[in-house]
Subunit: 199 residues, 2 copies
Amino acid sequence: MTEGSDDIQALIAMMARLPGLGPRSARRIVLQLIRKRGQNMTQMAQLLGRVAQNSRECAVCGNITDREVCGICTDPERATGEICVVQDVADLWALERGQAFRGRYHVLGGTLSALDDIGPDDLGIPALLTRVGDERISEVILALNATVDGQTTAHYIADALEGAAVKVTGLAQGVPIGGELDYLDDGTISAALRARRSL
Amino acid sequence: MTEGSDDIQALIAMMARLPGLGPRSARRIVLQLIRKRGQNMTQMAQLLGRVAQNSRECAVCGNITDREVCGICTDPERATGEICVVQDVADLWALERGQAFRGRYHVLGGTLSALDDIGPDDLGIPALLTRVGDERISEVILALNATVDGQTTAHYIADALEGAAVKVTGLAQGVPIGGELDYLDDGTISAALRARRSL
């Protein structure tokens, strides 16, 4: 009976398993919630319940939404003929925050991995190929992580789209905005040098 | 409509205000919860709701509990005649985890502070003095932080208890277990030297 009540202990234990949290930070958060319980703890409980109830994957692109098909897939202004392929919903959200892309998305939900036995069918790659035909797509942008797994998956998709009349592109690699050369790894520096552009 | 739905955005914004979290970690946590929503998101919502509904301060000591008077205050085995005075419920929980103290507690909920206009009445110090008389207390242990505010409060309480027939003690100061002298501040080293003990 250390932490107040069984419910409080169960809540702390559950919070402690969330990414980036541990027992200490979970205790701190739960205590803060209880201290301000009049303000927003009940509201947070209701929100959590509603999100748990209503969230689902968009039937078309795999984005998280509370409808059958997400707002991006139903927005006619975003039928630009471009599909941006991302590994994860978090990547989609990051791209949306950047507001640089006005087309539609396709969330793979992972990368190809022989080790974890993840093949093209597990990632919805057949669905992507179908969409490219059905939605009259002119360009597929592979916005995958610049890791070995991400690039393997990008190459696989590029190969699979070889026959289709569609442009396949990837994100530029180079020096990040605000990046200092001294702190960058060798691979990034050589990539940026190889892809140098005239000013 | 970046992050899925209005509810998801509201949940992220609310989580981002919790101690130790920010927008990035809140997004990561909410996404993880949604991914595993079948497992425990609903359960967490219910727990949060129940804790918000049932939590209150113990009428005697100020501990967080789901009853009128907390389990420590009602446990007859803990009527040892000792009261441990702590600043915060988190400190009480920390002492309980250590399992070194078997008496009862008194949570101040803060420290005296002229700057923030917090006086003895705001901290329930009169209630503490009443308890010392009513519960036949023989020792008051001031387990307050070793900060200026904490020690000011400790001195104030020690003064207020001067007339009562009660022993007033404070936590020992010295080298923490596992502490290396080289990394300790000068104040701690001199305190540990002054309070040296024969072996």
